[in-house]
Amino acid sequence: MSETAHTGATGATGRAGTGAGAVVLRGVATVAVIALVWEGVVVAAGIKPYYLPRLSVILSAIAALPQAYLAGFVRTLSETLLGYAAGALVGVMNGVLFYRSRWLRETVFPLFVISQTIPVIAFGAVVVLWFGNTILAKALIAFYLTFFPVTVNTLTGLEAVDKRQVDLLRSFGATRKQLLFQLQLPSALPQIFVALRLACTLSLLGAIAGEWFGDTTGLGVLLLQAMYNEQFVALWAAILMAGLLGTSFYGVVAWAEHKTVFWRSEL
């Protein structure tokens, strides 16, 4: 019976340790445990490198060529961040625009929805054809993947604002700008952050896949080269770097959410 009582609580335990130190400590502990289990299982079960190389082998492969992996990491990171930042900004502005204008919401918004069912990566080929193998082309793909969820969630968040609060502020003579920045956007923040977290992975996906259309640096390129040469250790090294990038990016956004939206942190 006490076990069952736990089920409902486990979802909350992730948020229970509020101190940043405790969160970091738990993260480090988790990583250490996963690393130990990985190394131990591969050695103990005698798994072939074809399926899963030992973690230590992968790490030493990265350590042997630090510049190549660092360059790829930095390149992919800048593509992702550029597209993500622009996408987040445009997404929030779009959301406000759609909220303000009913006409836009009814005519342009459905087009946005349709545009998101386009398999972006197919479009990626065209973007790379247009802009060449520049950092801009990948950032644009990342941007395209980011701005839509942010737009939708900004709109939902703004629409969920309590009408009575709006009326109250208005009765005190608040301007539209004040309403937006003092009440509506802060109230929508939790929703916006949900989209921002989702967009982390999406923008990284866009950047990596964008590199496949013939770039020379980046994590996507490292992945591709390792695949063509059937180098499993190098492949895992690139996957690990992509994971590191994805996790830290997500972690930073989640941390920012924790700091900004301290009053509500569910989901």
């Binding site: 019976m1 076990e3 069952t4 736990h6 089920t7 409902g8 486990t10 979802g11 988790t30 990583v31 996963i34 399926y51 009814e106 005519t107 342009v108 459905p110 087009l111 929805v113 349709i114 998101q116 069912t117 386009i118 398999p119 972006v120 990566i121 197919a122 479009f123 080929a125 065209v126 054809l129 247009w130 982390c200 992975t201 990284l204 996906l205 990596i208 896949a209 496949w212 259309f213 994590l219 996507g220 992945l223 591709l224 390792a226 695949m227 059937e230 499993f232 492949l235 895992w236 690139a238 996957i239 992509a242 994971g243 994805g246 996790t247 997500y250 989901l267």
Partner: protein, 241 residues
Amino acid sequence: MRRALAGLLSVFVLWEAAARGLDLPTYVLPSVTRIVQAIVDQRALLLKAAGMTVMEAVVGFGIGSLAGLLLAIVLTMLPAVRRSVLPVATALNSVPVVAYAPLILLWFGMGPESKIVMVALAVGFTVFLHALSGLDRVDPRAVDLMRSFGADRAAILWRLRLPAAIPLTAAGMRVSTVRAMIVAIVTEMLGATGGLGWTIFQAVLQIDFVQVWAAIFVASAISLLFFGTVNLLEKRYVFWR
């Protein structure tokens, strides 16, 4: 719906006007009529490619959704396992799914199997995370009430948690439809024997821009259809939302 169609139509008209009026070269933007013409001309080839991609996306989607839901149920029943599995799942999930594509291709070969596995992975994670938070989203008082009437864990799961989890799981599946198509196409681009992604990649290599756009059009239409179908099913069967 009608407004969306009108909007789409005006986009096409604007596109056509821009491509013809500004006399844009095909590598910048071919006109809509030319793209449609290309689709009609190569319908047999595109149909075959689309059939392959759809098969991969749908099969992968089915496997992924089922596996994601089952895993979520099992973990909800076994809280002890859940505590150790969940961090690993979250860590795996933060690696962008495309990063696994080369590995899966090497393991499962160039055929459709590797694409199905990739789609199942991508869909599975999304559905799993949605289903898990859905299974948790029950009123603890309702659980206590059922337990006080002597309901065991299976009964609580079947009568309370599952119905509560279905709306969120369905939402996860709806989100996953587009992702299923994207992942199938991306994996095909890396290496395949056929499919829309493969067609697009070949066309890029041959610098055949009209062909690229034709394949994009077909892929988008299918995506939209897939999304619409799942959306319709969700509205129809998850009525208690």
